[in-house]
């Protein structure tokens, strides 16, 4: 739709016009993309900023800086731009009052201090690049990242295992067998996809509380072992595309349905199973509501999502550390996404549209 370009002069060849269009559309896309992911730039730079810089409105915004200082007689002096008769000089403040400031010249420390009449607050301070790598160490420790990471891994890992195993079985049942009530059951299954979790939450919570499962990881893992509609739907669609002749050949060789599943269907469906596993892993990894409900009073069991939120509530006044925390939390999912990018995109395409 954006193919109509401003360039339509007849002396342009078709090829040239195509090139211009290509450059135009790609530049627009690049601009949109940069706007779209600019917040990540904010996160990266802020994560490395010092707390001083966060409170320093004169500091440049685009990079971690700190005030430029020099050492003079055992003290750190801040360097400012000072307008003198012979132009602007970079001088370090030795003594300051509102009307008169004494400077030393960093280039020539042994020279007489320079006295300047005027308010030093009006001067521009100088900054040097100074990324605070120790922010990572601090956020890592304060978040208790290894513990949160382990909990997230346990929840998402076991949850995915259960979800995928059960979904394979159920999807196979729907894809390959004829039985009474099959259509109705399938429709109920689809309907559960849109069911809000809150509709079942309170009784489920009360039962889990009764059997002593609240403040354990069990309520976050066990329900995954009972196949959710979304995963089943996806896998069923894929299983139905596998030619039945393959099943029949295996059955003639004496395989029972379980063997057909493991010897024919699963090996044929590795891409779909990988996609479903990845989707579910991320779904469980990012889940915030369920752990918030079930683990409210057990900080030692919090996954990253809850841990990071509580960290924010605690460190709201240190925006740089919040960004560091956010950064170390999103590194893993985003890295996995880039590596498994193809699987994801295909997975979505075959979920979202009729195929």
């Amino acid at each position: 739709m954006a193919t109509r370009s401003a360039v339509s002069a007849p002396n342009f060849t078709f090829r040239q016009r195509e090139l211009v269009n290509k450059i135009l559309v790609t530049s627009i896309a690049m601009f949109v993309l940069i706007t779209f992911i600019a917040p990540l730039g904010y996160m990266f730079t802020t994560a490395l900023k010092s707390t001083d810089q966060m409170g320093d409105s004169g500091a440049p915004w685009y990079w971690p800086f700190s005030r430029k200082t020099i050492e003079y007689q055992g003290k750190d002096l801040e360097v400012y731009q000072v307008p003198l008769q012979d132009g602007i000089h970079e001088l370090a403040i030795l003594k300051k009052t509102t009307t008169e400031t004494t400077f030393v010249d960093p280039q020539n420390l042994d020279a007489e201090p320079i006295v300047w009449q005027g308010n030093w607050r009006k001067l521009t301070p100088l900054h040097v690049s100074d990324p605070q790598w120790q922010n990572f160490k601090k956020a890592w420790d304060d978040l208790n990242f290894p513990l949160l990471f382990k909990n997230s891994m346990l929840i998402a890992g076991f949850g995915t295992l259960g979800a995928v195993l059960s979904a394979i079985l159920v999807a196979y049942g729907f894809a390959r067998f004829e039985f009474r009530g099959k259509n109705l059951l399938f429709l109920i299954l689809i309907a559960t996809i849109i069911l809000p979790v809150q509709a079942t939450l309170i009784p489920t919570y009360l039962v889990f509380a009764k059997i002593g499962w609240t403040n354990t990881l069990l309520p976050l893992i066990v329900p995954h072992f009972f196949a959710n509609g979304y995963n089943v739907f996806l896998l069923r669609q894929y299983f139905m595309q596998i030619p039945r002749e393959l099943d029949e050949a295996a059955m003639i060789d004496g395989a029972n349905p379980l063997q057909v599943l493991f010897q024919v269907i699963i090996p044929q469906s590795i891409p779909a199973i990988t996609a479903v596993s990845l989707f579910h892993f991320f779904f469980a990894w990012n889940d915030f509501f369920t752990p918030l409900v079930y683990l409210a009073s057990s900080p030692e069991l919090w996954p990253l999502s809850v841990g990071l939120q509580k960290f924010n509530a605690l460190y709201g006044r240190l925006p740089n550390l919040i960004q560091t925390g956010a950064l170390i939390t999103l590194v893993l999912p985003v890295t996995i996404f880039f590596f498994a990018q193809r699987i994801f995109m295909q997975g979505i395409v075959f979920t979202g549209v009729e195929k």
Binding site: M54, L185, L187, A191, L292
Partner: protein, 353 residues
């Protein structure tokens, strides 16, 4: 009275399923070859002796139920019984703090809801958000899909991947990044606005602007919408465009007259998810404002109010009533959407392969 309501609820639930069926078989259409294969199979089956057929059928049935059993058990234990449980609790004043004072209240909780200012507010908040976010998200998502579908775009896969990527960022981390970006002092958004001479609002503390902020943050989750629309667009047969070109249609006409109608099932699917999503909205509102619902209850989404009642104030009976109403709202919206579907959703099933 209680039984009548339960029965009514179940009927509505079944109605939902049926209406889902009506449109969903379009999503799960069986390809023509497969239909032939199936019918030939059925023929072979019917040709065999009736005794062995019933054995086969019974064996099929047993295996089928066996494989389905994890889900059937899960559905009963984690869905059906709890939904009825929610109904039951909603008629009591149950609180885990004082379980021995539990009383049967009838419909008192529902009556309370009618006069509870927080409930009214939370419904308004949810609707405000839905009205603002759905059209904007849809247009931006559609725009992105058109962009990454353009034949003039170099590096299509790169752009598709990058536009999808923020979807993979955990909601909590994304919320914190954005709340930094929208900070009035150090946030890049207002610095950028300032550089072009606009004084940016206090995005997260203004009861009006907070909705714009939530919509902006929500744009990071558009990857799925973009990709499903893209896949829909790629499924449109090229002959249609060729025919339209011969008839002299321009790009805009082709988009409005061919692309949009042809991808209307995908649009419908996404609209349903977005509308229901507004009533499931929780994480962002909770993380941005630490669950307070501020400013001035502007982020008190329906679900946040429910959560606070049930888990902060321990009013589980009342919370159940809220949950049951949420369930009914989602049900009603779904039914409504499916009812309108045949007015604007085009299912041109036939010519597909």
């Amino acid at each position: 009275m209680q039984i009548a309501t339960q029965v009514f609820g179940i009927i509505q639930f079944i109605y939902l399923i049926i209406s889902f069926a009506a449109s969903f078989h379009h999503f799960v259409e069986i390809p023509e070859e497969k239909k032939m294969a199936l019918s030939s199979q059925a023929r072979t089956l019917s040709q065999t002796k009736s005794k062995s057929r019933s054995y086969l059928a019974r064996s099929q049935e047993r295996w089928g139920y066996l494989f389905l059993s994890p889900w059937i058990i899960g559905f009963l234990v984690f869905t059906l019984i709890p939904i009825l449980g929610t109904m039951y609790f909603s008629l009591t004043n149950y609180s885990p703090v004082t379980p021995d004072q539990t009383k049967f209240l009838g419909f008192d909780n529902y009556k309370t809801m009618l006069t509870d200012a927080k409930v009214t507010k939370s419904l308004l908040v949810t609707m405000n958000y839905a009205i603002l976010s759905i059209p904007i998200s849809f247009i931006v998502g559609l725009g992105l899909a058109v962009l990454v579908n353009s034949k003039n775009l170099a590096g299509k896969n790169f752009f598709r991947t990058m536009f999808y990527m923020p979807f993979m960022i955990p909601v909590v981390a994304g919320a914190l990044v954005w709340s930094g970006v929208m900070n009035t002092q150090s946030g890049w958004l207002n610095l950028m606005l300032e550089s072009i001479g606009i004084k940016g609002p206090d995005w997260l503390n203004d009861p009006q602007w907070i909705y714009v902020a939530l919509v902006l943050i929500g744009l990071w989750g558009l990857g799925n919408l973009m990709l499903t629309l893209l896949a829909g667009m790629q499924g449109v047969p090229t002959e249609l465009y060729e025919a339209a070109t011969i008839d002299g249609a321009n790009g805009w006409h082709k988009f409005m007259q061919i692309t949009l109608p042809m991808i209307s099932p995908v649009i419908f699917y996404n609209m349903t998810l977005m509308l229901i999503g507004a009533f499931k909205y929780f994480d962002l509102a909770y993380v941005l404002k630490n669950g307070t619902g501020q400013p001035a209850d502007a982020t008190l989404f329906y679900n946040l109010n429910l959560y606070k009642n049930a888990f902060t104030y321990n009013l589980m009976g009342y919370g159940s009533a809220l949950a049951w109403v949420l369930f009914l709202i989602v049900l009603a919206l779904t039914i409504l959407l499916f009812k309108t579907a045949n007015m604007w959703v085009y299912y041109g099933g036939e010519g597909k392969s």
